[in-house]
């Protein structure tokens, strides 16, 4: 076993490149330490905030379902308080939520727009045929482009939009009677003033 490194016979190598890994690790360690102290201080990384709350809804232009009127665009949201509901014929919870949307639609207190997500027109139409259509307009988003801009995590999800097209409230999951009565209806009244 011969020692071929012979450290002293060669010109001294630059030292600083060998410090890079250490520096990187120390920086990362600092981030972790801050993160842990944030968590100890009561910060909960599991709560997903609505990034888009109180910001304008993204621009979109979604094609209609065949035979059901015009395209649904972000311009439709201007001028009145409205609700956008994300659904799909594949979404089980949507069938649970649906009767209540039908009820709201009958009262006419707010226009409900639908976005048919990750679905085919045939299936969407068949589903509406079976359960009824509460929507003023429906746009199709089969490839989730608008859905991603809206920050949707799962269907059903609903957004309350004010007259200027700004997102004011978001319901993740089914709109229950309680949420509607206690939160959304008062908010609609306030936004309509």
């Amino acid at each position: 076993m011969t020692d071929t490194t012979a450290p002293d016979t060669k010109p001294r190598a630059k030292r600083w490149p060998y410090l890079i890994p250490l520096a990187a690790v120390l920086a990362l360690g600092g981030v972790f330490a801050k993160r842990l102290s944030d968590i100890s201080g009561g910060y909960d990384p599991k709560v997903i905030p609505t990034v888009l709350l109180n910001t304008p809804a993204p621009e979109f232009n979604l094609p209609p379902l065949p035979g059901l009127g015009d395209a649904f665009t972000s311009n439709d949201l201007k001028g009145k308080v409205s609700l956008i509901n994300i659904w799909g014929s594949w979404c089980v919870a949507c069938t649970v939520e649906h009767p209540f949307l039908m009820e709201i639609a009958k009262t006419g207190e707010i226009p409900i727009y639908g976005i048919a997500w990750r679905d085919t027109p045939e299936r969407s139409l068949a589903w509406l045929e079976k359960y009824g259509n509460p929507f003023t307009k429906i746009g199709q988003d089969p490839h989730s482009q608008t859905i991603i801009n809206l920050g949707v995590t799962a269907a059903p999800e609903s957004f309350l939009i004010d007259k200027e097209g700004i997102i004011r409230y978001k319901v993740t999951g089914i709109i229950t009677r309680e949420v509607w009565r206690d939160t959304i209806q008062p908010l609609i009244a306030q936004l309509n003033k």
Partner: protein
Amino acid sequence: MIIELGHFALALALAVALIQSSVPLIGAARGNVAWMNVARQSAVLQFVLVGFAFATLIHAYVTSDFSVVGVYENSHSAKPLIYKISGVWGNHEGSLVLWVTILSIFGALVAVLGRNLPPALRARALAVQGMISVGFIAFILFTSNPFLRLFPTPAEGNGLNPILQDPGLAVHPPMLYFGYVGFSMAFSFAVAALIEGRVDATWARWVRPWTLAAWTSLTLGIGLGSWWAYYTLGWGGWWMWDPVENASFIPWLTGTALLHSAIVVEKREALKSWTILLAILTFSMSLLGTFLVRSGVLTSVHAFASDPTRGVFILILLAVAIGGSLTLYAIRAPQMEGGGVFAPISREGGLLINNLLLTTACATVLLGTLYPLITETLAGGRISVGSPYFNGVFIPLMIPLILLMGIGPLLAWKRGDLAGALSRLKLAAGLSVAAIVVTMVIAGFSVTDIGGAFGIGMAVWLAASSLIEWSERVKFGRTGSWARIANLPRAAHGMTIAHLGMAILIAGVSGASAWKTETIQIQAPGETVQLAGYALTFKGVTEVPGSNFTAERATIEVKRGDKLVATLHPERRAFVQPPEQTTFSSIHTTYASDLLTTLGEKQGDDGSYVTRFYHEPLVPFLWYGILLMGFGGLVSLTDRRHRVGAPRRTAPQAMPVPVAAE
């Protein structure tokens, strides 16, 4: 009583580890043989103690001793035996005990098998192992003690999360830990070498088998996890770039790089400081994975129940282990270089580019995993980094790597002949192009198929060039080729097998990404859905009792034309304790593609259910590829030059023609 003995044994193991981490170091510095030998004795003793502690924990789970907190929280008397045992590591505390048990196994192996290691190197490496043990045993005893009692004793336990009650997942953690912890050997030897200030071929010859064993186990462990996700989570996904999946993949990438750069150190005594850095980083990444999963700093489906106190402890552990080793590296590594010089185009050059690509890939995955956490912590606001990023940056890095994997083994050490190598690979290139064309024809010349077809082409390139290299080496088909096959080092066979496995894996990834089709619908009994040429008829659901669950079991008839090809039974299982539901998919496989069915929720009163069907072309190739890679690793491990304790063979080291390329 038994559990208290286990607790006591672990506390004793901490004391032994403290001795192991200090006395041999002093002995090695002073050249005191007796003090150096303490390393071996204490490593074996530590194995006995930790192994005993682990055994008492298994005993408590098997006998359902609910007076132990961990057993009460994670086990249930009505659970099948295998899940009682796997329940030991199905929780944070128990899995750490498994971690240190494996660590102590490795330590004992070095002590027992490493007779002809230089005594000082052995003493120092074992001392570093001892330090890791100190950290982790202290972590267990002070923050995550699985030996605590509960009074009064509950009559029944809470049960293991049903999603973990699966044979694949029972062995997944041990395989993964064996990989993670196995890399600690390379780490300990690297730190020992830094302390000595010397790295040579002997060092590399020692590090390689441990790295190879760890790599093989990690490869199979990751594969097992992916397979489990595929057949249980019920959406036909096998990899989703989840932070915890990435946490196992990052050390795999650096470990793969280490495996290859250690060859250069062994054969040519070059790339020394780089190899040392990789050895440190690989284990550091394993530790980082442990930290991410357990500290609660990030959110993931896989994460253990989080606790910031534990997080702080692991962070300090990490800072000491990684920071300490890298400080030592910064001091000592600048003097390490030297050894064989080589031309850019050579085997060494190829392996170096391999290393650069793998570490870049590792860095991109690490960045994508940590970026949301970093921005959120420093700037506030949430972002998420998903598959588009990972696929977007990872795949472009893999393409040159795969091309290189075909060429590299054909290059000679020191100075290679690129034109010669390429001309020997004409056949592989031709086959690859032909494969792309054939795939496009079969798939129907759609633009969306280009990616998939290109992937298949890459797979064929790698498979063909690996086989060409192997058959040239043994002069296949000419007289005496069988003897040459038998005489070829096992490590060379191992390389060919592992590279073939990689080729098959690539084909699987390409097929699964490009041509997967799925359909989700509500089906009433008797209704039929078409998917990828199959007609799937839903025949209804029956209730079936299981060992500790009740299943809603669907019957789905699969027909191709008029022929019944399979009857599938996807299930929804409602567990008694804890009261949770899981899906259990049912798969019809042709061994080249899968038809995966899952059952969703009940709809209405007419017996309708939500059903999901996925056609997954080439997914079985993923599992074949991973198995073959693991098998390649095992074959390579049986190479006599890797056999721990084998006398150093006076192998031809600097012959112009490649002798053994692993």
